[in-house]
């Protein structure tokens, strides 16, 4: 935005004018760094080191059931990960699950954010109602959907169908077995229910950071609501949409709770995190689990790079204000 303000901000970021001697400056640099170091060292040791080990193990033949056959095997784990039918299906499931959940919850979140951006009675209450699904512990939410809503015998969905059919004097309401007939869709519905509030919150924050005076001016100049949305709101919102989609993808690619709870990875819903958990925790095939882990990381890096870029743009705008 305004470069002068940004520059002044940057000046704060660089150290003050060079002190007389180099030694003194180095001391003052370290004094500045000292408060940062514990957090930095801790993060590197706990998050980066294990990944390096995973990388090494991914090139090894290592199954805990056959401890004598441990050794390096090159890319064979990767070859088996990428050719194995289960693993390939898991990769596909992960992509489908992530894309569907992110897109649907983003669209729903956008619609609801637009509704909540207007003045009406009880707006605050509706906003609070809307975020409630996000505040249910993920495992609890998955249990709720599995047992209390999807259950074919006494779940709320089929119960409601029965009640509606009875209202019209019919005794044979359809009673689908939701999880068995559409396992992946069931998982997706539960996840969309939890993630729509997340998208809504981010998009609502985006809507409320619009420069209202400009929009007001456009309205006065005769722009229709659609034109305001298409040419002013949407371009402003684009970055928030990107941010929601990218952060949502990062969280949902890693989803374990819903798959583990609702279908226990059965019926073709096993995604990569679940398969890795199984390969390592039940099959004890450490090499293959690590290779699959590295595959997930490579997939995530692409999303994460884009996410970091979006955050960086928003961050600069925020600082320039």
């Amino acid at each position: 935005m305004s470069t002068t303000i940004e520059r002044r901000r940057d000046d704060v970021g660089t150290p003050p004018p060079p002190p007389p001697s180099g030694a003194l400056r180095r001391t003052s640099d370290w004094a500045r760094r000292a408060p940062l170091l514990p957090a930095l060292v801790f993060t590197i040791v706990v998050t980066q080191l294990p990944f390096v080990v995973t990388l090494v193990v991914s090139f090894m033949d290592w199954n805990a059931y056959y401890p004598d056959e441990r050794g390096f095997t090159g890319f064979s784990n990767y070859a088996s990960v990428l050719t194995d039918v289960n693993m390939r299906e898991a990769i596909l499931t992960t992509v489908v699950l992530t894309v569907v959940v992110v897109l649907v919850s983003l669209l729903l979140g956008l619609g609801i954010a637009l509704l909540l951006d207007r003045q009406f009675r009880g707006r605050g209450v509706v906003r609070t109602l809307m975020i409630t699904p996000f505040l249910v512990v993920p495992v609890a939410a998955a249990l709720l959907w599995k047992h209390a809503l999807f259950n074919p015998e006494y779940g709320l969905l089929n119960g409601t169908l029965t009640a509606i059919w009875r209202l019209f004097g019919s005794q044979d309401a359809p009673q689908p077995d939701w999880i068995t007939t559409a396992p992946l869709v069931s998982v997706e519905i539960a996840l969309v229910w939890q993630w729509t509030p997340f998208m809504m919150l981010i998009l609502l924050a985006g809507l409320q950071s619009r420069p209202l005076d400009v929009i007001e001016a456009a309205r006065i100049d005769g722009a229709s609501s659609w034109q305001v949305f298409r040419y002013m709101t949407f371009p402003h919102l684009r970055r928030y949409l990107e941010l929601g989609a990218l952060l949502g993808s990062i969280y949902i690619v890693q989803n374990f709770d819903a798959v583990f709870t609702i279908t226990s990875g059965g019926l073709g819903t096993a995604n990569l995190p679940y398969v890795i958990y199984q390969t390592f925790y039940q099959a004890h095939d450490y090499g293959r689990a690590s290779a699959a882990g590295v595959v997930v990381v490579i997939g995530t890096i692409v999303i994460a790079t884009l996410a970091l870029r979006t955050v960086s743009t928003l961050f600069q705008e925020e600082n320039a204000r």
């Binding site: 505040l135 495992v139 119960g159 409601t160 009640a163 981010i202 659609w226 958990y277 450490y286 990381v297």
Partner: protein, 297 residues
């Protein structure tokens, strides 16, 4: 949509001399408000159903069509807390509380100095450091799970709550650094410097100027970190057993149906979610900042 939200004739809203205009009330506004209410209720309905069912008897919870008006009872809660069933969720609830609270305290102890070195007296290339922290949060947990498991097995830390505390600290540190930095960046540095020259005024400045900005930030950051730690399943499920299992791991015991147990499941889900619901509603205004890793205010 455009037809519903279409505004009144343009000329009518034009006021001379830039007077503050009254917000227009477009036709159809009431309908859209109704729609917003309906959607809000639809989204909260499963949670309400969970709470209602948790107070029903097992027989009333398992009817089709649902018995909404069935008498209320604490049967489900009694079974969950082990009266007549021998179940004991207390150790797992206590483990979750320990892991969440202790890790949150350590996160704050590490994040506040780091945020200070990234805002008030920034190191060189502080934005790079900030983004490094963020990138670690994007590394999938499964990618480090195996080495952590092997390390825990080797060092005897399997099924030890301290292992989870360390991992949850690492998991939440990037978010806390980002959030605390954005709060500390609002502290007026000039006033702080002037006060430290003064000496006498420093404490007063800290109390009058810094605390009102930073304390709400610390509160919001703690609540967000608490929620993330309390919710975590994959690490807890893999690295704990009978001793250090957390509440979400305890809940996985309800994955397979065991006869009439819906009221008990709903009671369990509600009890375990209650701390998060309270923390979330308390941090409502800062929730979006934490979830977007500080990118959105």
């Amino acid at each position: 949509m455009s037809s519903v939200t279409d505004v009144a004739p343009v000329a009518a809203t034009r006021t001379p001399g830039g007077e503050p205009r009254r917000p227009r009330k477009p036709r159809g506004g009431a309908l859209l408000a109704l729609l917003a209410w309906l959607i809000g209720i639809l989204f909260v309905l499963p949670v309400l159903w969970m709470v209602l069912t948790s107070f029903h008897s097992e027989q009333d919870a398992a009817t089709n069509p649902p018995s909404v008006l069935a008498p209320l009872t604490l049967e489900g809660y009694r079974s969950f807390f082990g009266i007549g069933t021998g179940a004991n969720p207390w150790p797992s609830l206590l483990n979750s509380l320990t892991a969440s609270v202790v890790s949150t305290v350590i996160v704050l102890l590490l994040a506040i100095p780091a945020a200070y070195a990234l805002s008030i007296r920034p190191v060189r290339k502080w934005t790079d450091v900030l983004f490094f922290f963020l990138s670690t949060r994007m590394l999938p947990v499964v990618a480090g799970l195996l080495p952590i498991y092997l390390f825990a097995q080797f060092s005897g830390l399997l099924d030890n709550i301290w292992l989870l505390i360390v991992l949850y600290t690492a998991m939440n540190l990037p978010i806390a650094v980002w959030m605390m930095r954005s709060f500390l960046a609002e502290v007026p540095v000039e006033i702080l410097e002037a006060a430290s020259m003064d000496g006498a005024g420093l404490l007063l400045t800290l109390r009058r100027v810094v605390a009102p900005i930073v304390l709400p930030g610390i509160a919001a950051t703690s609540l967000i970190c608490f929620i993330f730690s309390w919710n975590e399943l994959l690490l807890a499920r893999t690295l704990t057993g009978t001793v250090a299992q957390t509440a979400p791991v305890y809940l996985t015991g309800f994955v397979t149906s065991q006869g009439l147990f819906l009221a008990q499941v709903c009671a369990a889900a509600f009890v375990v979610s209650l701390p998060v619901l309270i923390a979330g509603f308390a941090a409502q205004d800062k929730l979006v900042q934490g979830l977007s890793l500080g990118a959105v205010k």
